[in-house]
C-alpha cells in the first residue's frame, strides 16, 4: 500500500482553478518534491493532503488518501487524528508558524498530548527528547524559550521537532528553507535527510528551488498552472528533462560554478567608498551594521556584494546612493566626496510592490527624475519616458497604466527605467531579483547586462544568492557582520576562496546534480564530525 495516493485532484478558489487534475503516488519511506514557480499550485496540494482546505470555501475534487485515511471522506475527528500523528507538516516561515506567546516545549507537548493522551509531564519530556533529536543544544533549558528567542534556523529545527513528536509516517515540508540563509538551509536539509534515514518516514517537499529538490528527494514532480509538467526520478528529470518547460526552468537557474564573460570595464573609478561605518541605535544598544568598508566601482563593470541576512549589505547599498549617511567614512563620486543623493547614482529596489507609488501612473514615476531636473516640455518628457519604457522591454503605451496592472518582473523593469531616466553612471541594485520567479529573474538579469554594455553603466549588485551574483559580477565582495571578508575578481573568489566564511557559503549552495549533492553532504558531515 502506498503512503500517499492522489488521484485527479483539483482545487478551486472561487473562479480560480489552482490545482487541475493532479495525480501522484508516494511509497512508504520515499521522498518526492513538488517543484514549481509561484502560482503553480504546489502549496495548495500540500495543504490538501491534510484536508486543510476544509471549511475555507475552496472546492476540492478527486481523491486523496494519506496513510490509510481517505482525506476527502474522513470525518473531522478522523482528519484530526491524521494531522500531526500520521502526517505532519513543516511550514515556510518558522517564526510566524509558532505561537509567539508559549514556550516551544509547551507547544510541542500540546501537540503530542492531542494524539497520545500522555500526561503533561510525559509530553514535556517527549518535547525535550525531540528537540534534542533535531540538534537543539541544551534542549531541556531551551524548551522553555519562546520562538522569538530562537534564531531562524533553530526555529525551523523546533518546527521539525514538533513534526517528529508523534513519529509520523509522512513529513510534508512546504518551502522549509526559503526564509533561511544558505548556510542554515544546508543544515536543515541535512537534518531532514538524516531523520529520514533514521526513521524511514516519507517526505513530500514543496519548493520553488530546483537545487533544494536535488539535494533532498528521489523523485521530482514539476508543476505549472496547477498541472503536472513532468514527473520522474530526480536524476532523470534534472539531468535530461523531456518537457520544454522543465528545460526552460533549468536553463534559467543560475549556476554557482559557471563563470561569466567579462564586461568591458575601464580603469576609471566612478564610485568609491572609503572606510564606511554606519551605526544604528544609541547608547548600550548601538551596533555597527557596516564597519570599515572600502570599495571601488569602475566604469562599465559590475561589482557583486554578497552576504547573508544581517551582513549589512543593504545598509551599504543605501549609503552608496546617499539615502543613508555614513557615521564614519565617505562616499566619493569621480573622486569627489559627496553627501546626500545624486542623480548620477541611482538604485533599483528589492520589493517590486513598494518601489512604485501605487497612486501614480508608471509613466509619471519614470518621469520623476526628468521633472526634478527642471525639464518642463511635456512632449519631450513623454517622448523620453516612452523611449525608456521600450528600452526596458515594456510598451510605450504603458505610460498611463498603474503599478498594480503589472507583474512583479514588469514592475522591476519600470524601476529600472526610472533609474535610467536620471542618466546615471552607477546603478545600485538591492536584491533586484530575489522577489521574482527564476525565469523572470533570468530575464531581468539579462536586461541589466544589456543596458550595462550599451550605456557603459557601472552596476553594484547586492544579493544573498551566490549563484545570481556570480552570474552578473566581474568582481565580488563577500560581507559578513558588517565587514567585507573577501574581495576580488569573481572567478577567483568563487573558484578559489580564501576566507573560511566564503568557503562555508559556497559549500552550502545546493547542487543541481543529485550525485554532487550527495557528495557534498558527506563532505559537510565529515566537516562537522571532525
Amino acid at each position: 500500500m502506498s503512503l500517499v495516493q492522489v488521484t485527479d485532484l483539483s482545487v478551486e478558489f472561487g473562479d480560480l482553478r489552482a490545482v487541475d487534475g493532479l495525480s501522484f503516488r508516494l511509497q512508504q519511506g520515499a521522498a518526492l518534491a513538488l517543484v514549481g514557480e509561484s502560482g503553480s499550485g504546489k502549496s495548495t496540494v500540500a495543504s490538501a493532503l491534510l484536508g486543510l482546505h476544509r471549511g475555507t470555501g475552496a472546492r476540492v475534487g478527486g481523491s486523496i488518501e494519506v496513510a490509510g485515511t481517505d482525506v476527502q471522506e474522513a470525518s473531522d475527528d478522523e482528519l484530526r487524528r491524521l494531522r500531526g500523528a500520521k502526517a505532519a507538516m513543516v511550514f515556510q516561515d518558522p517564526l510566524s508558524s509558532l505561537d509567539p506567546y508559549y514556550a516551544i516545549g509547551d507547544q510541542i507537548a500540546e501537540v503530542y498530548r492531542v494524539h497520545t493522551r500522555a500526561s503533561r509531564r510525559a509530553a514535556r519530556a517527549r518535547a525535550v527528547d525531540v528537540l534534542d533529536r533535531v540538534g537543539i543544544p541544551d534542549a531541556q533549558r531551551r524548551s522553555r524559550s519562546r520562538p522569538h528567542e530562537f534564531s531562524g534556523g533553530m526555529r525551523q529545527r523546533a518546527l521539525i521537532a514538533m513534526a517528529l513528536a508523534c513519529e509520523p509516517d509522512l513529513l510534508i515540508a512546504d518551502e522549509p528553507t526559503t526564509a533561511l540563509d544558505v548556510t542554515v538551509q544546508a543544515q536543515i536539509l541535512d537534518l531532514l535527510h538524516t531523520l529520514r534515514e533514521e526513521t524511514g518516514m516519507g517526505l513530500l517537499l514543496v519548493t520553488h528551488d530546483v537545487g533544494v529538490a536535488a539535494e533532498s528527494v528521489d523523485e521530482v514532480l514539476v508543476m505549472r498552472h496547477g498541472r503536472v509538467v513532468e514527473h520522474g526520478r530526480v536524476g532523470a528529470v534534472l539531468g535530461a528533462p523531456k518537457e520544454p518547460y522543465t528545460r526552460d526552468l533549468l536553463a534559467a537557474v543560475p549556476r554557482v560554478d559557471a563563470s561569466r564573460a567579462p564586461s568591458e570595464a575601464s580603469e576609471e573609478v566612478v564610485l568609491e567608498a572609503v572606510g564606511l561605518r554606519r551605526e544604528f541605535g544609541r547608547g548600550k544598544r548601538a551596533f555597527a551594521a557596516v564597519d570599515d568598508v572600502s570599495l571601488t566601482v569602475h566604469r562599465g563593470e559590475t561589482l557583486g556584494i554578497v552576504g547573508e541576512s544581517g551582513s549589512g549589505k543593504t545598509t551599504l547599498g543605501r549609503m552608496l546612493v546617499g539615502l543613508l549617511e555614513p557615521t564614519v567614512g565617505e562616499v566619493r563620486h569621480d573622486g569627489h566626496a559627496r553627501v546626500g543623493v545624486n542623480p548620477a547614482v541611482q538604485m533599483v529596489f528589492q520589493d517590486p510592490v513598494s518601489s512604485l507609488n501605487p497612486r501614480r501612473s508608471v509613466g509619471e514615476s519614470i518621469a520623476d527624475p526628468l521633472r526634478a531636473r527642471g525639464e518642463r516640455d511635456e512632449g519631450r518628457i513623454r517622448g523620453r519616458v516612452r523611449e525608456l519604457l521600450e528600452r526596458v522591454g515594456l510598451e510605450a503605451a504603458h505610460y498611463d497604466r498603474y503599478p498594480h496592472e503589472f507583474s512583479g518582473g514588469q514592475r522591476q523593469r519600470v524601476g529600472i527605467a526610472r533609474a535610467l531616466a536620471a542618466d546615471p553612471r552607477v546603478i545600485v541594485c538591492d536584491e533586484p531579483v530575489s522577489a521574482l520567479d527564476v525565469t523572470t529573474q533570468a530575464q531581468v538579469v539579462a536586461l541589466l547586462g544589456e543596458l550595462q554594455r550599451e550605456l557603459g553603466l557601472a552596476l553594484v549588485f547586492v544579493a544573498h544568492d551566490l549563484a545570481v551574483v556570480r552570474q552578473v559580477s566581474d568582481r565580488v565582495a563577500v560581507m559578513q557582520r558588517g565587514r567585507i571578508v573577501e574581495q576580488g575578481p569573481a572567478d577567483e573568489v568563487y573558484d578559489n576562496p580564501q576566507d573560511p566564511y566564503t568557503k562555508q557559503l559556497l559549500a552550502a549552495v545546493p547542487a543541481l546534480d543529485p550525485e554532487v549533492a550527495a557528495r557534498r553532504r558527506t563532505a559537510r558531515r565529515e566537516l562537522t564530525a571532525a
Binding site: 480560480l16 514557480e37 547614482v345 497612486r359
Partner: protein
C-alpha cells in the same frame, strides 16, 4: 462615546501598500458591495438633508422651535400637553413639549442641526490638528518628534468628558455654545488621530518609492505632498469616520448634563434631560430624541464600519474569514518569497 475606544479599534488599520489606481473609485466600488453600509449612508444622507432643510421643514409645518404655546399645556396638571399622544395634531406633527408647549418637531429637526454640525466641526478640528502634529512629528528630527509625541501622549491621557465639562465652566456665557463645544472636543481629543497620522507617516516614509523619489532629486516638501499625504488618507478617513458618531454622543452627553448647548438652542441631549421626569405623562418627549440619537449614532457607526472595510480590505478579508461568503484566496499567497 469615547475617542479612545474608537482609536484602539481603528488602530489595526495600517497603511495599505497597494490600493490601486484611483483610491476613490475603488473605495466606492468596495463600499457599494456592503448592503448595511449603503442603508446607513442613505439614513445619514437623510439626516443631513433634514438638518440642512430645518428652516424649510418647520416653515412647512408652520412652527418654530422657540415659541411658547402655554395654551397647549394643562397647567393644572403640571404642564402636561393637552390632547392625545402628547398633543399631536395637524399643527404640531410630533406634539408639544410639556410645560412650555414648544413644538417638538421643530425642536427635533433643529436639534439635528446642532448634533451633526457640532460633530462634523469637532471631527474636522481633530483631523486637522492630529494630521499636522502627527506628520510634523514623523518628518521632524529626533527632538521635534520627542516633543510632539510627548504632547500627544498627554493629550491622549486627558479624559475628554471631564476636560470638556471643566473648560465649559470658564468660558464666558456669551460665546456661541455650539462653536465652543466643537472647539473643545476638537482641541482635547485630537491625540489619537495624531498618533495614527504619525505611525502611518513613519511607515510610508520607509517605503521604497519614497526613497526613489528622493533619488530622483525631489525635495522633502514635494515628497510629503505627493507621496506621503495621499497615503495618509486611508487610515485618517477610517478613523475620522468612526469619530463622528463618538462626537455626537459627547455633544449629547454634555448637553444632557446642562453644560453643552444651552437653551433656547434646541439639542437632543438637552431634550432628554428635560424629558427625564415626563416619561409617564408624555413618553414621546423622551422617546423622540432618544430614538433620533440612537438612529443617528447607529447609522454613522455602521457607515464608519463600511468605510473601514472599503479602505482596508485586509481587515475586511480578515473579518470575512470562514463566513462562507467568499473564501480567502490562498492561491494568491502561495509560492515563493
Amino acid at each position: 462615546m469615547s475617542e479612545a475606544l474608537v482609536a484602539t479599534e481603528a488602530a489595526g488599520t495600517g497603511v495599505e501598500p497597494v490600493p490601486g489606481p484611483s483610491g476613490a473609485r475603488q473605495f466606492w466600488r468596495r463600499l457599494r458591495t456592503q448592503r448595511a453600509a449603503l442603508v446607513a449612508a442613505a439614513v445619514v444622507a437623510l439626516l443631513v438633508l433634514v438638518a440642512l432643510a430645518a428652516p424649510l421643514l418647520t416653515a412647512i409645518e408652520g412652527q418654530d422651535p422657540t415659541t411658547y404655546h402655554p395654551s397647549l399645556v394643562d397647567s393644572a396638571r403640571g404642564g402636561v400637553p393637552i390632547g392625545s399622544f402628547g398633543g399631536i395634531s395637524g399643527d404640531h406633527w410630533l406634539g408639544v413639549e410639556p410645560q412650555t408647549g414648544r413644538d417638538l418637531f421643530a425642536r427635533l429637526v433643529y436639534g439635528a442641526r446642532v448634533s451633526l454640525g457640532v460633530a462634523l466641526a469637532a471631527t474636522t478640528v481633530q483631523v486637522l490638528l492630529g494630521v499636522v502634529v502627527g506628520v510634523a512629528a514623523a518628518l521632524g528630527n529626533r527632538w521635534v518628534d520627542q516633543l510632539l509625541s510627548r504632547i500627544t501622549d498627554i493629550i491622549v491621557a486627558l479624559p475628554l468628558m471631564i476636560m470638556a465639562l471643566a473648560l465649559l465652566a470658564i468660558v464666558p456665557g456669551n460665546f456661541p455654545r455650539p462653536v465652543l463645544v466643537s472647539l473643545i472636543i476638537g482641541f482635547v481629543a485630537w491625540g489619537t488621530i495624531g498618533k495614527i497620522a504619525r505611525a502611518a507617516t513613519l511607515t510610508l516614509k520607509e517605503l521604497d518609492y519614497v526613497a526613489a523619489a528622493r533619488l530622483s532629486g525631489w525635495g522633502t516638501w514635494r515628497i510629503a505632498r505627493r507621496d506621503l499625504l495621499p497615503g495618509l488618507a486611508a487610515p485618517v478617513i477610517t478613523y475620522a469616520a468612526l469619530m463622528v458618531p463618538a462626537n455626537i454622543s459627547i455633544e449629547a452627553a454634555l448637553s444632557f448634563l446642562g453644560v453643552g448647548v444651552k437653551p433656547p438652542t434646541p439639542s437632543w441631549g438637552q431634550m432628554l434631560s428635560a424629558a427625564n421626569v415626563w416619561y409617564q405623562a408624555a413618553p414621546q418627549y423622551l422617546l423622540l430624541p432618544a430614538g433620533a440619537l440612537f438612529v443617528t449614532v447607529l447609522a454613522l457607526t455602521v457607515l464608519g464600519d463600511g468605510v473601514r472595510t472599503a479602505l482596508d480590505p485586509r481587515a475586511a478579508s480578515r473579518l470575512r474569514v470562514g463566513t462562507g461568503r467568499k473564501s480567502e484566496n490562498k492561491a494568491g499567497k502561495e509560492g515563493t518569497a
